[in-house]
């Protein structure tokens, strides 16, 4: 097979030396000569040698022409030198960065053309070909197997059709899909591609050679680590390929369709500083803009749009201009803030946008603000009393909501009797005050509450059943009662001590923001007379201590972790689930004193209500954070028996126009991972509740900030990084298939050209040796 088969007609020129030789014989001059005897005698003895020399030179000249013609015709020597292609996998990078517009147009369009030519070439060579999406390797765009007939097959049922017809249909469908596919908001996930390739290779019954063609913009973040070496996630997989002896099973072609590093500015942060967000309370909304380019970005303008809480579609009710950013230096992130007041509770979708550049989709971001009328606190009084100030909860209630019916931002509700799920349903946090013990049912309810993000605070007292609280701290690890610890410390009684004070250390806890910077400790005048000895569980932190000899823990904060009683080892990162719990809260605090004045006079101190309100805010579940996720991650939907969720994709996004997500319904045990960013509307449906009365919520899905960094890897850097992997690969720009075929052929045409050169030198030498004119 030849790349330029028509040029083979040039082989006719091989006869040129013979023709020239014959024609030369016809061109001569006549010379009268006297010494014919001598001449003829010389000719006789020379004749054979001359013929031999003529033959040698003719053959050399014909070979030169033959090699040159073959070189320009470029033969494809499949199967030689180990190169073989049993199938071709075209991985098209459909990640978000491919939406960038360069001088030659959209990078993704260039990639598409390259992928199409790869597919067509494979189909032309009857090589089975499939197309994967680089950001969604689980999605197979299409596949063509077997012999493909030429021409377009129109209509007709596949039933009874030949394999060639079916292949043609499949090929047409694949090409149509290629022309229609759009980018996602996900990053390139080549490690998953490699994983899938390795698994397929291992599962193959017979050894096959796969050409893997990755058409991508090869951004640095996708390939290289900080030090320029290959990213760990890729290195591990390439090592596995080598280790499993799969190197010969892959020919990697890395097609770089980028136009080099591109400047880009993007919104990389969009958040509400206050959490929870309360109606009527001013909140700060922050927008961060990062310049990923090499040149300063000047005069960036933008705005934040606040949608209505009563609409299923985003309708901007308020538009707040962002402060103009005069200049953002390369690599710099600038943060601007605005202030807004949500007048009433509800779910509010927000959009932030700046002046669009070459990559418009990251010049927008979304957010959902779940606005509460107030923070709901459930108080569990361990020693209730009709006298408000004689009870455990009286002073705390006064501290949190002094006037009760006057909104203060905290709404306190006293839990009477057993703590159950219903009592906790609307609560953001629950304060358990000097409760002697918690029944198994109460523990289960509290566990579900904390697991859903609610916060728990304990105030101790003389009614505490130490053994019971030890059970809370050390629940069974297995069985139906297994759960994470509900109490983050080990409790021990100690003898009453002298009057002691609280020591909050560096005052760096978030609840101490209001006290930071004060010259003297605000708590020096507060005296505590009695407390337990608290030994924090692994993972729990001591927020404050008493200034006794033992530096006994006074305030401990823990977390309702999924891992029973365990905390991450030092230096070990939290799991995503752990982080989610932290994000949605699930915090547990222990105050090693009473909520009333039994063990100290703190509740009468001015710091008490301030700190308690801060702790209520700190412990309250975060509604907004749970509504924001990243493209590719599962939406955080609470699993409820009998409940399914209908998810509607974004309706007015750039991405949705090109690549709409379909409405999807998921049930218990299922998850939904959107590949597009934007505002999603999620409706909760039950069998009892019909669609119209289903409750809907907003979810904001964002893309990974790093996708906006368009800095390229660079062919040399990538080549150097891949050099040690042992894989067979070629790297090239946006070239057609022939360039890679040339490389995969082991550069056969170059060898042919070299042979022509060698033969030319031989011919020159022979001509000189035989005494000819050169």
């Amino acid at each position: 097979m030849f790349v330029n088969p028509l040029l083979l007609f040039g082989l006719a020129m091989v006869s040129a030396p013979v023709i020239i030789h014959i024609l030369n014989k016809r061109r001569y001059r006549v010379q009268n000569w006297a010494a014919m005897d001598f001449l003829l005698a010389a000719q006789v003895s020379n004749r054979r040698r001359v013929k031999f020399e003529d033959l040698i030179l003719l053959l050399l000249r014909m070979a030169i022409i033959g090699f040159l013609v073959m070189a320009v015709a470029r033969p494809v020597l499949r199967g030689l030198a180990g190169w073989r292609e049993d199938s071709r996998i075209v991985v098209m990078d459909d990640s978000f960065s491919m939406e960038a517009v360069s001088a030659t147009g959209k990078v993704f369009d260039t990639a598409r053309e390259s992928a199409v030519s790869q597919v067509q070439d494979a189909m032309g060579g009857s090589v089975p070909v499939s197309v994967w999406l680089g950001s969604r390797p689980e999605s197979l765009l299409g596949k063509v197997e077997g012999q493909v007939q030429g021409g377009v097959v129109t209509g007709g049922s596949p039933a009874g059709a030949s394999a060639g017809t079916l292949a043609s249909l499949a090929g047409r469908d694949l090409l149509d899909s290629l022309w229609e596919v759009a980018t996602s908001d996900l990053p390139l996930d080549f490690p998953r591609v490699l994983r899938k390739l390795i698994d397929e290779a291992k599962g193959s019954a017979a050894p096959v050679v796969r050409s893997v063609v990755l058409v991508s913009d090869y951004r640095r973040r996708d390939w290289l680590a900080e030090d320029g070496s290959l990213a760990d996630s890729l290195e591990v997989l390439f090592e596995e390929i080598k280790r499993e002896d799969l190197v010969d099973g892959f020919n990697f072609q890395f097609v770089d369709v980028s136009s080099g590093s591109l400047d880009n500015t993007a919104i990389t942060g969009f958040s509400i500083e206050s959490d929870p967000v309360l109606a009527g309370v001013p909140v700060r909304i922050a927008v961060e803009v990062t310049n990923y380019g090499k040149e300063p970005r000047v005069r960036v303008e933008g705005n934040v749009e606040v949608g209505g809480s009563d609409s299923d579609e985003f309708v901007a009710r308020h538009k707040i201009l962002l402060p103009t950013i005069e200049s953002i230096a390369p690599g710099e992130t600038v943060r601007v803030e605005i202030q807004h007041i949500f007048t009433e509770g509800g779910e509010y979708p927000l959009k932030a946008g700046i002046t669009p550049d070459r990559l418009a989709r990251d010049d927008e971001s979304v957010l959902v603000a779940v606005v509460r009328d107030s923070m709901q606190v459930a108080l569990v009084d361990g020693a209730p009393s009709a006298n408000r100030f004689a009870s455990e909860s009286g002073l705390l209630t006064a501290a949190l909501s002094p006037r009760g019916d006057v909104p203060s931002g905290v709404s306190v509700r006293l839990v009477e009797g057993e703590i159950d799920a219903k009592e906790l349903e609307d609560a953001d946090s629950v304060f358990i005050l000097n409760r002697s013990k918690l029944s198994p049912a109460e523990q289960a309810a509290l566990g579900a509450f904390a697991g859903s993000g609610g916060g728990i605070a304990y105030f101790l007292g003389n009614k505490i059943d130490v053994e019971s609280y030890l059970e809370l701290a050390r629940p069974p690890a297995e069985g139906p009662a297994a759960r994470p610890a509900l109490f983050p410390a080990i409790l021990k009684e100690i003898a009453p001590a002298a009057a002691l004070h609280l020591d909050f250390g560096e005052n760096d806890h978030p609840t101490l923001d209001l006290f930071r910077g004060l010259k003297n400790s605000s708590f020096d005048h507060v005296i505590f007379r009695r407390f337990f000895l608290l030994e924090p569980l692994p993972g729990a932190t001591v927020v404050a201590r008493y200034d006794d000899e033992l530096s006994t823990a006074a305030v401990i904060e823990g977390r309702y972790s999924l891992v029973v009683g365990a905390a991450p080892a030092e230096g070990e990162k939290e799991s995503a689930e752990d982080s989610a719990e932290t994000e949605g809260r699930g915090r547990i605090a222990v105050f090693n004193t009473t909520a009333d004045r039994d063990w100290g006079d703190w509740p009468t101190d001015y710091t008490y209500p301030i700190l308690m309100q801060e702790w209520v805010r700190y412990l309250s579940r975060s509604y907004s954070r749970g509504r924001v996720s990243q493209a590719g991650d599962a939406l955080r939907l609470e699993e409820k028996p009998g409940v399914s969720y209908r998810i509607e994709p974004p309706s007015e996004d750039i991405s949705s126009e090109a690549n709409p997500e379909a409405e999807v319904l998921i049930g218990l045990g299922e998850s939904y991972r959107p590949h597009l960013a934007g505002l999603f509307r999620v409706a909760e449906e039950t069998a009892a509740r019909d669609t119209e009365s289903a409750t809907s919520s907003w979810y904001a899905v964002r893309r990974e900030a790093g996708e906006s960094d368009l800095a390229e890897c660079g062919e040399e850097s990538l080549r150097a990084a891949l050099a040690g992997t042992g894989i067979r690969f070629v790297i090239g720009g946006n070239v057609d298939v022939d360039a890679f075929r040339r490389d995969q052929e082991g550069e056969v045409w170059r060898w042919l050209a070299l042979a022509a050169g060698v033969f030319l030198l031989l011919e020159l030498f022979a001509a000189w040796w035989f005494g000819r004119k050169v």
Binding site: Y28, M36, F38, K773
Partner: protein, 304 residues
């Protein structure tokens, strides 16, 4: 500077006049001159002894031999006399070849005329025979000035043609020459080696002396041709299309072989040989020839 009839190069003649053309063999002459003949007489140089017989002139008795050997011997002397020379000029078609201003024939004719003039000045009899495969012109040897003029006249207007044949011509010519002569053979000698051997052998057998002057054109000597050439024979229909530079080395080897054979044949017969390649080498070749003959004469004299 050439003389008016075109054949006498004065410069050449001036050079040659200092040397004498001396016949190696005994040639009967009828004029007293510088050349030796086989006749014995006065004022001749000693050649050999013979036993005294009564009646010999006692003035020629070798007294030294009598003193040594106590035997009577008479000295024999060669008598210097005029030679008879015949200039034999090849006028076959092969002599028409020319790569420059003069063809081989013209060069040969120049040489013939020069030698004729020199011989004439020495009062030697000189004649001319021009031939191809037949005798075309013949001027019997004579010491008269008219003979010289006749030679010049015969040389003029000759158009070389035909093939070459020497032996037959020389056989015929020698019949007209009563005495042993000096044959000056001027030709390119493009004949077979057998014919050369036969010709020289004939002359040697007959007791003639000979000088062989081979005239070649510089092209024939160097073979400087390039590119495709169709060589056409001058004396026959043979032709050859070839790339000369591919044949050159081989041709020159064959030529050298032929030249060597001719030279060897001459040496075997005791004849002198010189090669003339073009008019520029005439003087030098003839000077060498005459010097060569002078050395031979002296060597022969010392033997006596």
């Amino acid at each position: 500077m050439k003389s008016a009839d075109g054949f006498f190069d004065s410069e050449l003649i001036a050079r040659l006049s200092r040397l004498e053309l001396v016949a190696k063999r005994i040639v009967d002459g009828f004029l007293a001159g510088k050349n030796k003949s086989s006749r014995h007489g006065f004022s001749v140089e000693f050649v050999e002894h013979r036993e005294y017989v009564p009646g010999d002139d006692l003035r020629h008795l070798d007294w030294k031999v009598l003193g040594r050997m106590d035997r009577y011997y008479i000295k024999r002397y060669e008598e210097e006399t005029n030679i008879t020379a015949l200039l034999v000029l090849d006028a076959s078609a092969s002599m028409t070849y020319s790569s420059g201003t003069l063809s081989k024939f013209e060069v040969g004719a120049t040489v013939a005329a020069a030698l004729g003039h020199l011989l004439h000045r020495q009062r030697d009899a000189v004649g001319l025979a021009v031939h191809d495969q037949h005798l075309k012109e013949f001027v019997p040897p004579s010491a008269k000035t008219l003979a010289l003029a006749a030679i010049a006249a015969r040389l003029k207007g000759l158009e070389p043609e035909g093939k070459t044949s020497m032996k037959e011509v020389l056989e015929r010519v020698s019949l007209q020459l009563p005495r042993r002569c000096l044959f000056v053979l001027i030709s390119d000698f493009f004949v077979s080696q057998e014919e050369i051997d036969a010709t020289l052998g004939f002359l040697h057998y007959r007791g003639h002396d000979a000088v062989v002057l081979q005239v070649l054109d510089p092209d024939e000597r160097e073979f400087p041709f390039e590119s495709n050439i169709l060589f056409k024979g001058l004396e026959d229909d043979r032709q050859l299309l070839t790339e000369p530079h591919r044949l050159r080395e081989r041709y020159l080897a064959v030529l050298e072989g032929a030249l060597g054979h001719l030279k060897k044949s001459c040496e075997g017969c005791g004849f002198d040989y010189q090669l003339i390649t073009g008019p520029e080498t005439i003087s030098e070749a003839l000077a060498k020839l005459l010097a060569q003959r002078a050395r031979r004469r002296k060597a022969a004299s010392r033997k006596g």
